[in-house]
Amino acid sequence: MASLRYESQTREPLVDGHKTYHDVTEDICKPVEAAPTRMWWIGFLVSAALLLFGVVSLYVEVVYGTGMWNLNKTIGWGWDITNFVWWVGIGHAGTLISAILLLFRQGWRTGVNRAAEAMTIFAVMCAGQFPVWHMGRVWMAFFVLPYPNSRGPLWVNFNSPLLWDVFAISTYFTVSLLFWYSGLIPDLATLRDRAKKKWAKAFYGVTAFGWTGSTKHWQRHESLSLVLAGLSTPLVLSVHTIVSFDFATSVIPGWHTTIFPPYFVAGAIFSGFAMVQTLMLVTRKVLNLQDYITISHIENMNKVIVLTGSIVGCAYLTELFMAWYGASKYEFDAFYKFRISGPYGWSYWLMMTCNVITPQLFWVKKLRRNIAFTFLMSVVVNIGMWFERFVIIVTSLYRDYLPSSWSVYYRPTIWEVGFYLGSFGLFFTCYFLFSKYFPVIAIAEIKHILKKSGESYKEAMDPIEEQSTDEFAAKVAHAH
C-alpha cells in the first residue's frame, strides 16, 4: 500500500545512502553516545571563556551604569538594542523551519529542524539579555510584569510596544521551548533505550518522560505538533512585528514608517537562515551527517536566503524612494544626508553590499550548491544584518530633529563589546552542550519520511516512472 505512493524523480532524495531505520538511529545516536572529543572541549571552553568575559562586562555595567557603554543623549540605544534585534531575528529561522515548513508540507525540514529550533531557543535567550541588562537598574526588572503591588497597585503601560515586547519575547521563548522539547521526547526515548552507561540511562530516562511509542500517544503527538506549528507561525510573524513596533511607533525620522513590520520579518528570516547555514555546515561535517543534511537541504536554505534578501533589498529601495518622494524634509535628510553619506556612510554601504548585492549571487546554481561559498556568504549576511540594525538605530538617533542635540560619533567601549561577545559565549556554550548530549537531527521525523524520500525508495520509483499515467491510476484504484 505504501509503495504505491508516488514521489517525483525531479526531487532529490532527502536521505542519501540507502539507509534503513536502524541506520538512521545509529548515525544520529553514535555521536551523542561517544565521549567528547578534543575539538569539542576546545570549542566548549572557548565559549565558556567568552561567556565569563560577558559576565564581567555586565558586572561593570550594573555597578557603574549604562554610561560605560558610551550611550549618551540622543544615542540612547546603541549596540545593546542592535544586538537584541539581531539575536531575535536569528531566532526566527528555527521556528520558520519547524512550523511554517511543516504547514507547507516541505519534507526537507526534517534534516535541519531540530538543530534550528535549538538555535532559536538559545538565540532568544541571548536576545532577552539585552533589554534586561540595558535597563540600568536591573534589580527592578520585574517592574515590567503586571503583578499586584503595593504602589497603587501600579500597573504597566499596555499601550507601549516596549511592554508588548516583554510579552512577545517571553511567549516566543516558552512556545519555542515547548515545541522543541515535545519533538525531542521520542528521540530521547531512543537514546534511553540504547543507553549502556548508568548515568546515560538515568539522564535520558528522566528527560524522555517515560515515552513508550504507543500509537495513541503518537496520534496525540502529531496533533500537538500540528497545532503548535499552527500557533508558532503567526507567533513568529507577530514577535518580530512587535520588535519593529519599538521603532515604527515612534516619531523619529527613519523609524516612523509602516514598512517596518514586513521588512523586519523578512530580514529576520534572512539572517536566521544564514546562521542556520553557518551552524549546519559545521555540524554536518563534524558529526558526519552529510547523508541527512544533504546538499539539496543547503541549496533549499540558500533559495530562502536569496528570496528574503531580495525582499530586504526591495524594502531598502522603497525606504529611499519614500524619503525622496514624501514631503518630510526630516525623512529626506535622515536618508540622503545622514545615512548614505556623512560620518556613518561607511556602515550604510557595508550593509547594502552585504545584504543586497552579495545574496543575489545565489541565483547561480553552482554557487548555491557550493559549501565553502555558502559558509562565507552566511557570515557575510550575518554581518550585514547586524549593520542593518546598527544603521537603523544609531543613524536615526544621532541626527534627529534638533541640530543643537546632534551627538558625537558613537564608539563602543570594551564593556559593550564584551557583553556582545558574552552573548556569543552563551549561545555557543548552549549549542555545544546541545550537539553533544542531544540528537541534532529529529530521528523519528527522518524515519517518518524515509520510505517516501530516502534514496532506496527513490530508486523504487523508477519502474513506476516507466508506466504511463493511466496504468498507474488503474493500479492505485484497484489496490486497496
Partner: protein, 197 residues
C-alpha cells in the same frame, strides 16, 4: 500496578504490519497497544482508535488566554486606574491586540503540552515497563493480552504467519510508577506470608 501476561509480536515492515493488525482484530485477539519508533500514517485508524480531541482542548485554552488578557487590560485601564497616557483613549483596543494575541498563543501552547503530558502519562522520573528496546529503534511491537480463553500457541503461530520477525511471551506491568531507568527492573512478586510461631 497489575502484572499481566502478553504475547509480543514484532514487525519490521509497514507492508506486513497493516494486514497483520487487521487480521489480529478480525480474529478477536486483544491488542494491548502497538509501539512504533515513529508515527505511521493510518495506523490509528487501522487499530480502531478514536480521534484525539487534543486540538479542541487547545482551542479552549486559547479562548481562555484571549479572555483573560482582554478583560484584565480593560479592567486596569478603565476601572482600576485609568490614566491619561499621551491623550490615548482609556480602552485602546488596537493597542491591546499584540498582548491579547501573545497570551492566546501562550495559554494554548502551555495548556496543550501539559494536557498532552497528562494524557500520555509523561513526566520526569516516570518509569514504565517497555516490551522491546527496539520499539524506539526500528521495530513495530504489538503485545497481545493473554486471558484465560487465549490459546498461547495459536496466537504465536498466527503472529509468525502474519510476518512477525520476533515472537515471545512477556510478563509486564501496565501503567507507570516513579523511578529511575538506571536501576534494574524487578517485577512485583507476591511473597508467601510466613508465620513464626
Amino acid at each position: 500496578m497489575p502484572v499481566k501476561k502478553f504475547i509480543v509480536g514484532c514487525f519490521d515492515d509497514e507492508k506486513t504490519l497493516f494486514p497483520a493488525v487487521k487480521n489480529t482484530r478480525k480474529k478477536g485477539y486483544k491488542i494491548h497497544d502497538l509501539y512504533t519508533p515513529f508515527p505511521i500514517h493510518g495506523l490509528d485508524q487501522a487499530m480502531g482508535l478514536r480521534d484525539t480531541s487534543l486540538h479542541t482542548a487547545g482551542f479552549i485554552y486559547a479562548i481562555t488566554g484571549t479572555t483573560t488578557a482582554l478583560s484584565f487590560m480593560s479592567w486596569v485601564f478603565t476601572k482600576d486606574w485609568p490614566m491619561n497616557i499621551g491623550g490615548k483613549p482609556h480602552l485602546p483596543l488596537p493597542a491591546f491586540i499584540p498582548i491579547i494575541f501573545e497570551l492566546t498563543v501562550l495559554c494554548a501552547a502551555v495548556g496543550m503540552v501539559l494536557t498532552f503530558c497528562y494524557l500520555c502519562q509523561l513526566a520526569p522520573f516516570v518509569r514504565k515497563d517497555h516490551f522491546h528496546l527496539r520499539a524506539t529503534d526500528d521495530l513495530f511491537v504489538m503485545p497481545i493480552e493473554v486471558t484465560e480463553k487465549t490459546n498461547i500457541e495459536e496466537v504465536k503461530a498466527f503472529l509468525q504467519s502474519a510476518g512477525a520477525v520476533e515472537v515471545f511471551e512477556k510478563d509486564a506491568e501496565t501503567g507507570w510508577w516513579l523511578g529511575s531507568y538506571a536501576t534494574e527492573r524487578k517485577l512485583f512478586e507476591k511473597e508467601e506470608a510466613t508465620v513464626t510461631a
